[in-house]
């Protein structure tokens, strides 16, 4: 039997093709978002905003719960492997623990994690520990069962912006404002290595201030690399004029492997998100100083992005859903949007053509 529309029949809407990335869903908050995380079971997407709450959306139904309990903006979020626990770190230095199964979640536990901002929170691969870092120049590891401090690592000389566990769970990597990266050995509780990522910082001579820091970090699932998102080439950071950058580092050597940058020289701003895709490409989420944004799609062995998708609003957070086809992006216009890295379904394509 001949299909009525042979072209439609040829479309595989499940084949991953980043060049066909398109928006498939939108969740609205009234305030600019600051970060996001999708739970490992793809049930929830959580976002911080320029207010004191956490927005928790059910991705299937679109239902939203607003979680109150912080006294400052939420800067970083992570989930337990089953998605039932959520951990939120705020500018006030507090990490709250939430039960996502509750209809109206309230903090189960409040950890006074840092003096000054708690900038990043990550759950260990075995789900037993939590790593945080902050403006007190410390990296701390907490026991999730009882909330007690397990390790405290000092050595950074400026605010610590990001931290992540190596997938084998035996090491942590943290990065500060000036691009100082430290590797910490969790078994011995000691500092193992210092790495220079000063390419990711800059001193603004006119305004006499430093700019930099890891705005997102993620290890490659096989543990051979990690990626750090941020800035480089500071020109006038007080007006947002610097280049967004994602730098890849080799785990064994600690050496920089590659720098990912915008294909458009006019794009100035900050890279706020990075994710490794299992199909061996890297995704970056960028906020341009204009208020718009970009998604970058890079193959590790190629010099330039094989695809760049312009965004109507600056990206402030990025996550990859476990179906590996959808991306969640937190936007400065208050929306959390889902993008699908496949060809649009015929219905979506028709709708787009009609609306266009």
């Amino acid at each position: 039997m001949t299909p009525e529309n042979p072209a439609q029949a040829a479309v595989d809407v499940n084949a991953i093709d980043p060049t066909q990335t398109h928006q498939v869903a939108e969740f609205k908050h009234e305030i600019a978002l600051t970060t996001l995380r999708v739970d490992p079971t793809d049930r929830f997407a959580a976002a911080g905003a320029e207010d004191l709450d956490v927005q928790l959306w059910d991705l299937a139904s679109g239902a939203r719960r607003t979680l109150s309990g912080h006294k400052s903006w939420v800067r970083s979020i992570d989930f337990s492997a089953d998605g039932n626990r959520m951990f939120t770190a705020c500018w006030g230095g507090v990490v709250n623990v939430w039960d996502t199964s509750q209809a109206k979640p309230e903090p189960l536990q409040t950890i006074r994690a840092h003096q000054g901002s708690a900038r990043f929170v990550r759950v260990s691969p075995d789900g037993q520990h939590l790593a945080t870092c902050g403006n007190d120049l410390l990296v701390r590891v907490w026991n999730l069962a009882d909330g007690k401090l397990v390790h405290e690592f000092s050595g950074h000389t400026r605010h610590v912006y990001g931290v992540d566990f190596h997938p084998q769970g035996k090491h942590l990597v943290s990065q500060d404002l000036l691009g100082g990266i430290n590797v910490w050995d969790l078994e011995s509780g000691t500092h193992q290595q210092s790495i220079d990522a000063s390419v990711m910082t800059g001193y603004d001579n006119k305004f006499a201030a430093d700019m930099g820091g890891a705005r997102d970090m993620q290890f490659k699932p096989d543990g051979s690399q990690w990626a750090s998102a941020g800035i480089t080439k500071v020109t006038n950071s007080f007006a947002g004029v610097q280049d967004p950058i994602i730098v890849l580092f080799d785990w064994e050597t600690g050496q920089e492997v590659k720098q990912l940058k915008s294909a458009d020289d006019n794009v100035k701003g900050i890279a706020w998100g990075v994710r490794y895709h299992p199909d061996d490409f890297i995704i970056g989420a960028i906020a341009d100083k204009s208020g718009k944004g970009e998604l970058w799609f890079y193959k590790p062995d190629e010099e330039k992005a094989f695809h760049t998708m312009k965004l109507s609003s600056a990206a402030r957070g990025l996550d990859l859903l476990s179906d590996n086809r959808r991306l969640a992006v937190a936007h400065a216009d208050g929306h959390l949007r889902l993008y699908r890295m496949t060809a649009p379904s015929p219905a979506q394509a028709t709708a787009t053509e009609t609306s266009g």
Binding site: I31, A32, S72, W91, G116, K206, F207, A208, F238, G240
Partner: protein
Amino acid sequence: MRRNQGCNPLEHLMARRQFLAGTAAGAVGMGVLGTHAQADQLKREDKRILQVFLQGGVSQLESWDPKPGTVHGGPFQAIPTSVPGIHISELLPHIAQRMHHLSIVRSINIKINDHEQGRQFMEKGRRVGDFPYVGAVASKYLTPADSELPGYIHVSSRGLTDVAGGAAFLGAKHGQLKLEGIQPPGNLAAPVGIDALADASRDQLRLQFNQRFVQRRSKALTEAYDASYQQAAKLMSRKAMFEGQASQQDLDRYGTHDFGRYCLLARTLLENGAACVKVTHHGYDSHAENFNFHLEQLGEFDKPFCMLLDDLKARGMLESTLVVIYSEFGRTPTVNVRYGRDHWGTAWSIALGGCGIQPGGVIGKTNDTGTAVADREVDAGHLFHTYLQAVGLDSTANHDLQGRSIPIGDPAAQPIKELLA
């Protein structure tokens, strides 16, 4: 209260408190502040001004007027201070412990969002016109005749061009001497081969030439020239002041970064007779990353400034030193897409204390979201009057300029009386 132009000029030569106290207030007919015996008395009282200029426009919401948890409040919290009921941003923990030395004005509306225009208004107390800066006025009326330093000194790492050093018609002698950080001005040492005797001889020759030159020309033409020589001579004699090493104890307290060293130099300059010392701390024009930059900048500002405040207090100088922390404007309540705040002259704050200021107070307020002044609106004209009256000068008097009388402060503005001690 408008300036009473019907009063005898003498009444305006003295600050209100001194006038009411009757200190030589009965004398009449001597109207020139700069040469009058009563003005000399003010100079002997050794009052001075310390200006700390947070260049670029510090955010009032991240400093003196925090509104945590509100729509424009930002991520930082407010902390209690040493004055019950007054809260300031958590970014100023050291100042919070010393709030009883300072007061806050939270209701400034200068209706200007331009850096240069805002700065000029804040320095001159007038929106337009070639009028002297606060520092130049202090130099003229507060500098003792035997002072070994220029009256008005600005310590800054860069930029900020001020025409005639902000002296306007007061003359170059009262213009700002700008120091590039803690480095002494160049060429303070006499040239090799010129000893003190030779130096004096050549200066004498210069003066003779000047006298002949002036006989056929306006005296004003040589005044600026002479003032430069006089300033240079004063600085040459005090060269060691710049060369002294800060003690380790001071560096531990103030910090080793530029601003800490600027504050240490300011202490030295104030101790040595400068009538106005201005220290600029750059880096508040945060159109992007406002919160991270305020964390960094106010973190650098807070402690050294407090160490200077402590030292002024400990040395018995705070009561005779007006301390002002100010900018050219504040920053927008609205946070832009770059996490920045933009220029905002509509509803913002400064802090001040020391000589002549009631400490521990808050003047005016903004509305709940910080978008407008809700009570006791003032502008830079009011502040200008307030600064001068705080150090004992009647800002409603006139500058007497050889036949020309020019009001010292804007006659359309008044001091903030409830702020004056």
